[in-house]
């Protein structure tokens, strides 16, 4: 089964290069954001946190290509370091919610019965409310901060993954190769990890890609509202929220962090859309 995935991956790379501009642009954008995040200390010319009040509110110039904020911090450096926060939030939240969603969804579809009923009902109830509202309520009680953002977003983001993992598990469960694996004495765990999961990977990868994007937007929204990552940590949403106060005479403070978010999310969306065309042609994951 893994060989199958590997072939698909090879085909994917071929496809990216040759055929699909969406995938190509998406891959370039996402890769560059990742590289910026990894090499942030090498790229950023200044410290993202140290204040320099003498140079506050400078519009973009040679010394500070994107200008400075109200505390004289170089915006370019802050945006570069902000990529780390955004990607960390996106990846950790998505990892957490994928593990939660895949485990619950696969179990629910594979085992059926009472387990299935309970999980499906919880899932439906969670889907019935706006995610961010839920996250806001959780953060309002636990307090703001990066760690609490991970928890709140992770707890509210697993529902779609769970639904897809469940429906894939349901459809794979009846296949002959699963029966065969059971017949030769494969344990539940082995059947699940070697036979059921690899066959549900396609749609799950698509969902995870799009999920990273929506987690990043959610974090930015929470930080914009003052409920997320707290200053002086450079988070794009937090920078926008500060920039809002100075929109009338220092518009660059809110322009550039927003562009950074836009580029990242655009990249992830294009990548997700492109991957969907390849890995999930029947489009189970459409519109989510």
């Amino acid at each position: 089964m893994f060989k199958d995935v590997k072939n698909k991956l090879k085909y994917t790379i071929h496809y990216i290069v040759k055929k699909d501009p969406k995938l190509l642009v998406g891959t370039i954008l996402v890769t560059s954001v990742c590289l910026v995040a990894i090499f942030a200390p090498l790229i950023a010319p200044y410290s993202p946190i140290d204040q320099n009040l003498v140079e506050s509110f400078q519009s973009p110039n040679l010394k500070h290509p994107l200008g400075t904020d109200g505390l004289g911090r170089d915006l370019f450096s802050r945006i570069v370091f902000g990529a780390r926060i955004s990607l960390a939030v996106g990846l950790i939240v998505q990892l957490f919610s994928s593990i939660l969603g895949i485990t619950l969804g696969t179990l629910s579809g594979y085992l059926g019965g009472y387990t299935d009923d309970v999980i499906v009902n919880i899932n439906n109830l969670m889907l019935a409310f706006p995610r961010i509202l839920f996250a806001m309520a959780i953060i309002a009680t636990m307090g703001a901060g990066m760690f609490n953002v991970f928890i709140a977003l992770g707890l509210v983001s697993w529902t779609v993954t769970c639904r897809i993992a469940r429906s894939s598990a349901l459809s794979v469960k009846e296949e002959e190769f699963v029966e065969a694996a059971k017949a030769i004495g494969g344990s539940h765990v082995r059947v699940l990890t070697r036979h059921v999961l690899p066959n549900t990977l396609g749609p799950l990868i698509v969902i995870a890609t799009l999920g990273v994007g929506s987690a990043i937007i959610a974090e930015a929204t929470l930080s914009f509202l003052g409920l997320g990552v707290q200053p002086p940590t450079p988070s794009w949403g937090g920078m926008l929220s500060k920039g809002r106060e100075f929109i009338y005479y220092a518009p660059w403070i809110s322009t550039f962090p927003g562009l950074a978010i836009l580029m990242t999310i655009l990249g992830l969306n294009l990548l997700g859309d492109g991957l969907r065309d390849i890995l999930d042609p029947h489009s189970e994951t459409e519109h989510i």
Partner: protein
């Protein structure tokens, strides 16, 4: 139809009870002594005063008692008094709801009209520059954080051009509605554009469309009667699925444009630690969302009779 609506309303009840329970539990998890927040900081040093405060707000009872007191009050439409404004939460919220609903509904209208128009246009001109332009625009619209869009609109229309007000409700003046509406509606519009394009392309391949054409109907009639009418169902599904987004975006836009709606009330009450108001806001927002979903389901059943008998 009536029995369908009745059934959907009954199905909502467990969800509503769960909502109330979750809100109650969340409020219990808030760290700190609520009595401290109510009182004057100087009073906090006087245990007797604090005791009286606890008694007055019912904080000395056990949790289950507090929950049922809470539930009982809710049923009678009481949400308690705001710590910060010393007014009944119900009347504060009742003042705010029309503001939020007006913004949300105008954003829905804006995005549905323009989104469907763009979607239909690009589906009927598939593969042309119009299509490419509309679809690229839609991807941008979906990827753009709406609070950033709001700030940029303020900068463009308020600061550079100076033609639109960027702050406050303006007593319901329509000009104050335009920028928030666009801010809330853009991402929604982009989703609708994409969905309606896909739905219409899907319908164009259907047998009954070919039949309609071959029996000599004008293209105009085929598109309007057979294609668009049927494409409405997936479009409305997406409208419904994305309500959560819309509500969140409305809340954020209220903050950006200092709109006195439910969203800004909720965010402010988080920072003021005004628990009764926060609790009321979450309950009302959740309830609004459930009711909007109900309306979508009813609309859905109206458009597709098969659903009513499911």
């Amino acid at each position: 139809m009536l029995s369908f609506v009745a059934r959907r309303v009954l199905e909502m009840i467990p969800t509503v009870i769960l909502l109330v329970l979750v809100v109650f539990i969340l409020m219990q998890l808030v760290p700190g002594d609520p009595a401290m927040m109510v009182g004057d900081p100087r009073a906090a040093r006087d245990p007797e005063v604090m005791e009286r405060l606890r008694e007055h707000w019912g904080l000395d009872k056990s949790l289950p008692v507090q929950f049922f007191t809470f539930l009982g009050k809710l049923v009678r439409g009481k949400l308690g008094r705001s710590y910060a404004m010393r007014e009944p939460v119900v009347s504060i919220i009742a003042e705010r709801i029309p503001v939020t609903l007006r913004l949300a509904f105008s954003a829905i209208l804006f995005s549905a009209v323009f989104g469907m128009a763009l979607g239909i246009l690009s589906a009927l001109n598939k593969g042309t520059m119009i299509d490419l332009f509309a679809m690229s625009g839609a991807v941008f619209g979906i990827s753009m954080p709406n609070f950033w869009l709001g700030l940029m609109l303020i900068f463009l229309f308020g600061v550079i051009l100076g033609i639109l007000p960027t702050n406050g409700y303006g007593g319901g003046d329509i000009r104050h509605l335009i920028l928030p509406m666009v801010t809330v509606g853009t991402a929604y519009m982009a989703t609708i554009t994409r969905t309606s394009r896909a739905a219409i392309l899907d319908m164009l391949n259907k047998d009954y469309v070919r039949t309609a054409r071959s029996k000599g109907l004008t293209e105009r009639l085929v598109i309007s009667k057979h294609v668009i009418r049927n494409a409405l169902i997936p479009i409305i599904t997406i409208l419904g699925l994305q309500f959560g987004f819309l509500l969140t975006n409305t809340f954020v836009a209220e903050i950006i444009f200092s709109y006195p709606g439910l969203g800004s009330l909720m965010i402010n009450s988080i920072s003021r630690r005004d628990l009764p108001t926060l609790q009321g806001c979450i309950l009302v927002a959740g309830l609004t969302f459930l009711i909007l979903n109900l309306l979508i389901d009813v609309l859905y059943a109206y458009l597709d009779p098969r659903i009513r008998y499911d």
